[in-house]
């Protein structure tokens, strides 16, 4: 009991320390999201159709690019937490591997909460810019006005996806610590799998992205992330002390 309490208090102290040390991440996230917002202003999809009398040009707008950029950002954030610099920083604290992982995961969850809320709400900045800057007579009103339940669902789903991506980035970081060759092996394995058995990659993608029940989706993501984070912890336990 006291060991658990001790572990948690150490992990939480490390969490606070790491949160302060990595606070610069917020600037890169804001920068990335503003950049994605600018890209989003040109639309995410477009189509054109022509008949004898009618030409129709349609452009679709959404926060998809902003969310996608945030996904990439969290991947790199999680990778950064396992870098040698961060590991070295760990040794200045009273720590063990588990408390270090717990504090890292806590930090990742904090950034995930911030990233998911900001990326989902950034879509409204896009809409406001369009409202004032574009010819409104060309804009469809459908989907313009916020619906609270949709916003909440969007934030939670984005957060869950970010958790999965963060866990994968974290695992990659640990693998790189084990052997630097994993920098190449990890994407190569994915690329190879896509070439050898594209159906398997599609199935694993569909396992998350095609799930239409929010509850099942959440269970799948949480369990998968737990498995990947646990694997990261297990793998790092087999590493030398200062590696």
């Amino acid at each position: 009991m006291s060991l658990n309490n001790n572990l948690l208090s150490i992990a939480s102290r490390q969490y606070v320390y790491k949160l302060k040390a990595n606070s610069s991440g917020v600037y890169s996230l804001i920068f990335i999201q503003v950049l994605a917002l600018l890209f989003s202003l040109s639309g995410i999809q477009s189509m054109s159709s022509v008949s004898e009398t009618l030409r129709v040009n349609v452009k679709y707008f959404s926060a998809d690019i902003i969310i996608s950029f945030t996904f990439i950002w969290i991947f790199f954030m999680s990778l950064r937490l396992t870098s040698i610099n961060s590991k070295t920083m760990d040794f200045t604290l009273v720590t063990n591997r588990l408390s270090s992982h717990l504090s890292n995961i806590g930090l990742l969850l904090t950034t995930i909460i911030f990233g998911s809320i900001s990326s989902s709400l950034m879509g409204f900045v896009l809409k406001i810019i369009m409202y004032f800057a574009f010819d409104r007579s060309q804009i469809g009103v459908n989907g313009f006005y916020p619906v609270f339940s949709d916003i909440l669902l969007g934030i939670i789903t984005t957060g869950l996806y970010m958790t999965l991506i963060a866990s994968m980035g974290y695992l990659l970081g640990i693998l790189i610590q084990i052997h630097v060759l994993f920098v190449v092996l990890y994407p190569a394995a994915l690329f190879g799998l896509e070439k050898v058995n594209p159906q398997m990659l599609k199935l694993s993608f569909d396992f998350f992205a095609s799930e239409t029940s929010p509850l099942l989706f959440a269970i799948r993501i949480i369990l998968s992330s737990l498995i990947v984070f646990s694997l990261s912890c297990l793998l790092s336990n087999r590493m030398e002390v200062r590696k």
Binding site: L19, K20, A21, S23, S24, G25, V26, Y27, S28, I30, F31, I32, L35, G43, M47, E52, T53, L54, R55, V56, N57, K59, Y60, F61, S62, D64, I67, I72, F76, R80, F114, I117, S118, L121, G123, F124, I128, Y131, F134, R136, S137, Q138, I139, G140, V141, N142, G143, F144, Y145, P146, D150, I151, L153, G154, T157, T158, A209, S210, T212, P214
Partner: protein
């Protein structure tokens, strides 16, 4: 995106993220974690405020308001079958997909007994109904079959064909029109639960064009020289 374009886009993004991180490192040397926390809070507050602003913005000015069907909803799948079931004038009124987009009445000389047609460049379907009486008027109504973009009905935006009546000759000309639509799409994190994230590039991008249908109601004794036009005479009920 092409097979070359995707890696290039990812590479550019990686460089941008690295630059952003570098920028973050430079900025953090000038700013404490407290300032970062304040900036994060202000940023989040600004975003929450944007939701409130978006909610209170007036909706006038939006050109694309969806049409509500009065005669019962029409499904996208019915678009191509809409006009085939028209046999009487009442069918026009009861047909849920058809949208009345113009109505004109032309007075004719009581002595005129013949109606001629100019060639119909738009290949409109023209329906003719002979009235019960000789009232000296030709009523021209133009309708449009549904025009969808994805799942949304924008028939209301279609311009009717131009109808001119001069010297006993009826001219129906198509109007060239360009529509530019800017539509909002749910984020993929929301649309997933509506079953719209399946890999199908055509999903939501299909459009069906609204075709014009013209209904003429002519006096009882009027004779019609249809020219090259295909006319369909409606039953009297």
């Amino acid at each position: 995106m092409s097979i070359i374009g995707l890696p290039i886009a990812v590479a550019i993004l990686v460089v941008v993220i690295m630059l952003a991180r570098k920028l973050g490192t430079i900025v953090v040397t000038f700013m404490s974690w407290r300032k970062s926390a304040i900036i994060a809070g202000v940023y989040l507050l600004g975003l929450i405020l944007s939701v409130v602003i978006a909610a209170v913005l007036p909706n006038h000015g939006f050109g694309l308001m969806e049409r509500s069907h009065t005669g019962g909803g029409i499904q996208k799948g019915n678009v191509w079958t809409t006009s085939y079931s028209i046999r009487t004038q009442k069918d026009f009124e009861s047909q849920p997909g058809l949208y009345l987009n113009s109505r004109q009445t032309f007075k004719i000389d009581q002595r005129a007994v013949k109606l001629g047609f100019a060639p119909n460049p738009g290949h409109f379907q023209i329906y003719v109904e002979q009235k019960e009486a000789d009232d000296g008027k030709i009523d021209v109504s133009t309708y449009s079959t549904p025009f969808y973009v994805g799942e949304t009905d924008y028939t209301k935006l279609l311009q009717p064909p131009k109808v001119i009546f001069q010297d006993g000759l009826l001219v129906i000309e198509p109007v060239q029109q360009t529509l530019t639509l800017k539509l909002f799409k749910s984020n993929f994190t929301q649309s997933q639960f509506e079953g719209k994230n399946a890999v199908n590039l055509q999903n939501g991008l299909s459009s069906s064009f609204g075709w014009s249908e013209v209904l003429l109601r002519v006096p009882k004794s009027m004779k019609i020289d249809k020219g090259q036009n295909y006319l369909q005479y409606l039953d009297k009920d």
